[in-house]
């Protein structure tokens, strides 16, 4: 094991740099006295050389997909082809203003239109809005649509039902849309149909599900689930964050869902950018199409235009038209893959996941037997007796040159280790990871407690961080005074 992350002595930007430039222009020629800012903001001014060095050295202390295996469960950290980024940075893509008249942005509108269509095909939905800026934003949009739909029918439904395996954004989004959350416990890792039947009622606005679920298990009862929810008058919401597992095999439409969001930054291969931007298009079945946000991109003969004319639209969910810079990358990706390629993506993703599971379950408990789709969840519970927590395993994997998996989610697995290899990784990478993981779980507890030793820092005092909130350099100066 020879991996070691770079470590540079990068100073805090405020400690190393200041702004000495003297530049005295009278402002009161332009502004009334009482709104003038007397002193310029205290922001350091770096010459380009220092700027680039600062950020370059910092970047080397950050792990990205391009640096290695990043099996963060639920996040689909696949490799993203460089051509996508290049297309997004063309002047014809980046230097387009959202207020330009439609006649000047026919290219952009064409791509958006085609992407709406493509995503509708892929999801089996009737219509797709590209406006939501991330998955959670798509969920929120979907919940607003559900709300508008029920209200339009004069129904007062105030509950959203979801399984305990669901991602945190699901309950949070539904709550933001004003719903009460009913969480139903899973049975054998999947939706308990009885519990579901008991939970739904005339108060149920929607049931939210991701399929495969966050354990990576395909909910084979999808059709039955749909029946139960629909029978109660609820809508079915599909969280598309796990779409990497089903393309070309089934679709939310086919499974009976009414509303879908996709995470373009996951399945459709746009870089995660350290946490964003993403894009969370929402697709709906025919009866809900009129509720989608405006504008939609429409086509009239050869002309594309922004269509604001949706009578029951919920209105807008984003100041402009969503994250175009992400959309064009996803468009490039879909073109490059095609229908055949997307299917192969799914196949490879699922093969990788199951292969890795078959290796991992030799030395770590993987609760719930059987096939997985794109990811699986192991449990570190048995390691507890050795004094090892899942957190320790994760940290120690860093020393082996891997980004750790997602941990402690989903909540229903004790000491969860959630592993999503994605389709872009080779067998040799999976083997190397499995080897490393096996070595780690067999290492003495002290070694794991000590980990990581090869990252640019050792383990952090995270409790301190929350206790002494040092959220800015100003705070830091204050803190040091004490």
């Amino acid at each position: 094991m020879s991996y070691r992350q770079a470590r540079h002595d990068v100073p805090l930007i405020y400690e190393a740099f200041s702004d000495d430039v003297i530049y005295n222009i009278k402002i009161n020629e332009y502004l009334p006295e009482n709104i003038i800012r007397e002193k310029r903001p205290n922001i350091p001014r770096l010459c380009e050389r220092d700027l680039v060095k600062h950020f370059t050295t910092l970047s080397q202390m950050n792990f990205g997909v391009d640096s290695g295996f990043y099996p963060l469960g639920s996040c689909t950290m696949k490799y993203n082809p460089k051509i996508n980024d290049e297309m997004a940075s063309l002047p014809g893509s980046a230097m387009i203003h959202p207020h330009q008249p439609d006649s000047q942005v026919q290219g952009t509108l064409q791509i958006m239109y085609e992407l709406q269509e493509m995503l509708a095909h892929i999801t089996g939905m009737k219509a797709v809005s590209l406006q939501p800026a991330a998955g959670a934003h798509g969920e929120f949009t979907g919940m607003l649509i559900a709300r508008a739909y029920h209200e339009s029918r004069g129904e007062k439904r105030d509950q959203v039902v979801l399984p305990d395996t669901s991602h945190g954004t699901n309950p949070a989004s539904a709550a933001m849309a004003g719903y009460d959350i009913i969480t139903i416990p899973s049975k054998n890792g999947i939706v308990d149909l009885d519990a579901l039947a008991a939970a739904v009622s005339e108060r149920t606005a929607a049931f939210m599900l991701t399929n495969p679920n966050t354990l990576g298990i395909f909910e084979s009862d999808a059709a039955e689930i749909a029946r139960i929810v629909h029978d109660a008058g609820g809508l079915l919401y599909y969280d598309g964050a796990n779409f990497n597992a089903i393309m070309g095999k089934t679709s939310p439409g086919k499974m009976g869902f009414d509303i879908v969001h996709l995470n373009l930054h996951k399945t459709f291969s746009t870089p995660h950018g350290g946490g964003g931007p993403g894009a969370g298009p929402v697709g709906v079945v025919e009866k809900l199409a009129e509720f989608l946000p405006v504008p939609m991109v429409a086509k009239d003969g050869e002309r594309y235009f922004l269509d604001y004319d949706l009578k029951k639209s919920i209105g807008k969910v984003h100041g402009f038209h969503g994250n175009w810079g992400v959309l064009i990358r996803a468009y490039a990706y879909i073109l490059a893959q095609g229908g055949d390629g997307l299917t192969e993506v799914t196949e490879r993703a699922v093969l990788n996941s199951n292969y890795l599971r078959s290796r991992v379950e030799k030395f770590l408990e993987v609760p719930y037997p059987g096939l997985r789709k794109h990811e699986f969840v192991a449990s570190g519970a048995k390691l507890r007796e050795k004094g090892i927590r899942t957190l320790d395993v994760a940290k120690r994997l860093i020393d082996h040159g891997f980004h750790p998996p997602t941990i402690y989610f989903p909540l229903i697995v004790d000491e969860a280790i959630m592993i999503e290899p994605t389709e872009t990784e080779s067998k040799s990478t999976l083997d190397a990871f499995a080897d490393a993981l096996e070595r780690v779980v067999n290492e003495p507890a002290e070694v794991l407690h000590d980990a990581p030793t090869t990252a640019s820092v050792r383990r952090l005092n995270e409790t301190d961080a929350a206790k002494n909130l040092i959220l800015s350099y100003r705070d830091y100066v204050e803190f040091k005074k004490k």
Binding site: I36, Q60, T250, H321, L335, T343, V457
Partner: protein, 442 residues
């Protein structure tokens, strides 16, 4: 899927003979392939295809553009682009594992630090999707802090922002009530404002500049009038290099748009929703925040903190549903701020004001045109009135290579445009505007 040696070995390890066995858990009735999509293309064909479509666009470097209204074509320095392209930033995710993500974490923390200085706020979070959604979140946050059901907003708020805000307010049932503006100055009508300030109001939004491009001069008054109700300030980030920042007049929450600070307009996304607040409100705030701490060896280090506010821990009780945010645009903006420095931002803001005044004069010098229409002070944008319908004007001006401004979606303003300049606006372009205007109105 073609089976290569590795794939076969992997299937064998699973005691499988074909890939389809991997999908035996999907019941036959709900299976379906992908229809309606062509087969995959080579990279070269993808490139040709997309380049050809994008040629139909007229990018802003090929026009003289005076568009603003929430997105701005300020110059993006090469170094900023190059920094954002560093794949260690670009291809990483939310820094859930701080030890191996110090690079990004430090950048995000430095973004917070610099943005605190620019806005004068005590806390800045690590981004909302954009200004509009940030505003929506701000209303929810204010409602959590304050008492009451009503949020006061200016009559001048733009329709898209209002619509987004309404959507965010739908859940908790927040009522939006508008206060009027002065038709002469374009500023908030404080008398009307006070009249709307009932007990059931938990807070109010002050937009400065507002959607007429006018800077409000009554912030202190509004703050005072509000008492302990929540003041949400919506500001133009660049303007804060010369205009008193919201921290200065006691705003509780600030929202703003950061796109213009190092990011291309990108047809309106990704944007950068800036959000900040007083420290006492921080536990009510949505979004990620990065804290400074140490590692066990005492090294300065950074990590996400106050995660108990967030959805992955608090689920339906979280302060927001936000998960993916606009992290990469904060990286760009951090680089942009540090390359500009306080002095550079000020230079740029002053240049912008200067050009804005010159452009207004140039427009006013054309027969039957007025700019600015309102007497309140402007930053980079102002409303101009023309003798013909703005839709018609735009159409004609565009033929002359000038995009003259954004249509006003406000009553009685069919002949007006919101006209913006940026640090890219040159004297030549101002001349071109006036000339085209004369041409078109001939």
């Amino acid at each position: 899927m073609a089976l290569d040696k590795d794939t076969e070995e992997m299937l064998a390890a699973l005691n499988m003979h074909s890939v389809s066995e991997l999908f035996s858990d999907i019941p036959e009735p709900i299976r379906s392939g992908i229809s309606g999509l062509e087969n995959g293309k080579s990279e070269q064909n993808v490139r040709n295809h997309i380049e050809k479509i994008l040629e139909k666009n007229v990018s802003m470097n090929r026009m003289s553009s005076f568009l603003g209204g929430g997105a701005y074509d300020t110059y993006v320095p090469s170094a900023v682009k190059s920094i954002v392209g560093r794949s260690e930033f670009l291809t990483s995710y939310t820094p859930y594992q701080p030890e191996t993500s110090q690079g990004l974490l430090q950048v995000l923390w430095e973004y917070q630090s610099m943005m605190c200085e620019l806005t004068g706020m005590e806390v800045i979070n690590n981004s909302m999707y954009d200004y509009a959604t940030g505003l929506g979140e701000a209303a929810l946050m204010a409602a959590r802090i304050g008492k009451g059901k009503i949020f006061l907003i200016p009559e001048t708020i733009s329709w898209p922002r209002q619509s987004v805000l309404e959507n965010y307010c739908r859940g908790p049932g927040i009522e939006l009530v508008k206060y009027a503006y002065d038709r002469e100055t374009g500023q908030a009508d404080m008398v009307d404002f006070e009249s709307k300030l009932t007990d059931d109001v938990f807070g109010a939004l002050l937009e400065t500049p507002n959607c007429l491009g006018v800077l409000e001069t009554g912030a202190d008054e509004m703050r005072q009038t509000l008492g302990d109700k929540i003041l949400v300030a919506g500001v133009n980030a660049l303007s804060l290099a010369v205009v008193r920042p919201p921290g200065d007049y006691g705003a509780d929450i600030v929202v703003s748009e950061g796109q213009m600070l190092g990011n291309f307009p990108n047809y309106g996304g990704p944007m950068l929703g800036i959000m900040g607040c007083k420290k006492k409100h921080v536990r009510k705030m949505p979004g990620r925040v990065i804290g400074l701490t140490t590692d066990i060896e005492g090294r300065t280090a950074f990590c996400m903190t106050l995660q108990t506010r967030e959805q992955h821990i608090r689920r339906e009780k979280a302060t927001s549903n936000i998960c993916s945010n606009e992290a990469l645009t904060t990286v760009a903006t951090a680089a942009y701020l540090a390359l500009s420095g306080g002095s550079g931002l000020r230079e740029s803001a002053i240049y912008t004001m200067k050009k804005s005044r010159e452009l207004a004069n140039a427009i006013s010098s054309v027969r039957a045109c007025t700019a600015p229409v309102f007497s309140g002070p402007n930053f980079s944008e102002f409303v101009a009135r023309f003798p013909i319908k703005s839709t018609e004007l735009i159409e004609k001006m565009v033929k002359n290579g000038v995009i003259p401004g954004v249509e006003m979606a406000i009553e009685d303003m069919e002949n007006s445009l919101l006209v913006a300049v940026s640090d890219r606006t040159t004297d030549d372009e101002i001349r071109k505007y006036a000339q085209a205007l004369k041409e078109v109105l001939k």
